[in-house]
């Protein structure tokens, strides 16, 4: 897990690291452009992490009978 997943705001080094891990070589300007949206997304993903799911299995498809 990226350290920035639990801290806010996110710095440029962490943005570069995250993009590289995902296989993208974006410039600093490109990363700065998406920084606000990444921060907003990470806030939402922190909320996701906090939702208790117990033993619920991941649902990828529905009852495709």
């Amino acid at each position: 897990m990226l350290p920035a997943m639990t801290s806010h705001p996110i710095d440029l080094d962490t943005l570069r690291h995250g993009a590289r891990l995902a296989g993208f070589a974006w410039s600093d300007a490109e990363l700065e452009e998406i920084r606000p949206q990444v921060e907003a997304a990470l806030r939402l993903l922190r909320a996701l992490e906090a939702i208790p799911v117990g033993d619920t299995g991941p649902t990828t498809h529905y009852r495709t009978v």
């Binding site: 296989g23 939402l44 909320a47 996701l48 991941p58 498809h61 529905y62």
Partner: protein, 471 residues
């Protein structure tokens, strides 16, 4: 014949089958209306005038020769430009695929042709279906035909489908729905839109946004027309492993007009309480109308839906980026900048987030299933507000201010996660003359009950029959 462009698909099929009107006249009337109004509405990307007229002449010849007719014989329709059409550009609303001409039809394109339907053209949309406002920088923003003085959003991503059907530029269309993209434009444009159960309709030959969230469905002016289109399109497809082998009924048979004893759960809390006062009163009035007609209405809340937004971010984000990764590396500058931003942000979603989101999805599905265990359908607003103006960035909802984009998808996205069938239809108008939409949610593969409830409401009211005045 006066105002043929306002006739329903069902009515057009009857007029054609009884030789009261020629398919050629029907197509010409629609092409003329497109020519007169689409420069302003921007609902079409490609107009297939020659092909449509040729098909109409063939349909007329078949009629005169007494050959067997399909249920949509000679009836024109529009296709969101996400659906492959052999020999006709399928752009996905993008610059990147502007010159892409598939060699084969999507399964549903083929099935509608086999039913006799005639393609008028490919409809405008948000680039790669990735957005709920209905904006497209490459082909122009589709314009909501209601309130001609103000450029209002159609909603998206099936923006052109919503505008064209509402304005009489097509009697019916196909859209797609990943977070609300059929139902949001249906709500904002005052038409009927059906997101069937996941797996009810084949997605083969449809450009994906997020495989586990994408749904294919009709956008029409009546529930009866949605039933007509669904019957022609639905069913197992070997080319789509997620499609169901459940038999496809004739959904028109379910449209009895009877809702006596229908158990309806009105969704409070997250849904009704967050809507604007006019939307709330429209949906509440609809519930009273159904109750007066014999439905049994109670109130219910869904506890897990507040978790929908983060789960949708993780799932749609991850799946969309997986599909677009190579193109994003090679041609980022050719994307709609808004779409490119959304795709890039998804690079920061981890596999662990994705799996956790799929677990949350299981909770939401179970929640909706539980609510439907003692009810036949659920009722909620489709969007919390009517169509915003193009330059509006924020709206005031029942529970406070919200940016436009998350407001638009707030009530629709939980049912993309859960996969239940949902029909959006108009249930009123604001004092300013803008349509108000409500959604009817049913049990998996029970589109028949959903459409019965929607059709019955449309027999009791005339909201679906009101028409925008075009300039």
């Amino acid at each position: 014949m006066a105002d043929l462009f306002w006739a329903s698909m069902t009515e057009l099929a009857r007029l054609i089958a009884t030789k009261a009107v020629s398919p050629v006249e029907v197509v010409r009337v629609h092409l003329d209306r497109i020519a007169a109004h689409d420069k302003d509405l921007r609902s079409y990307i490609t107009i297939c005038a020659d092909g449509a007229l040729a098909a109409a002449r063939q349909a007329e010849a078949a009629l005169m020769a007494g050959r067997p007719l399909g249920p949509l014989h000679g009836v024109p329709y529009g296709l969101k430009d996400l659906y492959d059409t052999a020999g006709i550009a399928t752009t996905g609303g993008s610059k990147i695929l502007a010159d892409r001409v598939p060699s084969t039809d999507a399964t549903v394109t083929r099935r509608l042709a086999e039913a006799g339907a005639i393609l008028l053209g490919k409809l405008n949309m948000v680039e790669f279906a990735y957005g709920p406002e209905g904006l497209n920088p490459h082909y122009g923003h589709a314009r909501n035909p209601w309130d001609g003085a103000t450029h209002r959003l159609t909603g998206g991503s099936s923006s052109g489908s919503g505008a064209a059907v509402a304005a009489g530029l097509a009697p019916g269309a196909l859209g797609s729905d990943t977070g609300g993209s059929i139902r949001i434009p249906a709500s904002l444009c005052g038409i009927t839109g059906l997101k069937p159960t996941y797996g009810r309709v084949s997605r083969a030959g449809v450009l994906p946004l997020a495989w586990s969230m994408d749904h294919v469905g009709p956008m029409t002016r009546t529930a009866a027309d949605a039933a007509l289109m669904l019957t022609a399109m639905a069913g197992y497809d070997a080319a789509d492993a997620s499609s169901s082998v459940l038999p496809v009924p004739d959904y028109r048979v379910a449209l009895t007009g009877d809702v006596k004893g229908l158990r309806v759960g009105l969704l409070r809390g997250f849904f009704l309480d967050a809507a604007t006062p006019e939307v709330r009163s429209g949906v509440e009035a609809a519930a009273r109308a159904l109750a007066a007609a014999g439905a049994v209405v109670d109130e219910v809340s869904l506890a897990q839906v507040t978790n929908a937004a983060p789960a949708v971010l993780a799932i749609i984000g991850s799946e969309a980026l997986a599909y677009h990764a190579d193109t994003l590396r090679a041609r980022a500058a050719d994307y709609d900048p808004e779409v490119a931003r959304r795709l890039k942000v998804a690079a920061f979603i981890t596999g662990r987030h994705y799996v956790h989101a799929q677990q949350v999805r299981g909770l939401i599905r179970a929640d909706v299933d539980a609510a439907l265990a003692r009810r036949d359908v659920l009722l909620a607003p489709t969007t919390p507000m009517p169509a915003p103006a193009l330059d509006e960035r924020q709206v005031t909802l029942g529970d406070g201010p919200s940016p436009v984009r998350p407001a638009l998808i707030r009530f629709t996205q939980p049912f993309n996660l859960s996969g239940h069938p949902v029909c959006s239809l108009p249930c009123g108008f604001t004092a300013g003359g803008l349509p108000v939409g409500m959604q009817i949610v049913g049990r998996p593969f029970d589109e028949a009950t959903v459409l019965r409830a929607a059709d019955a409401f449309q027999r009791l009211t005339d909201f679906h029959a009101r028409r925008p005045v075009l300039g």
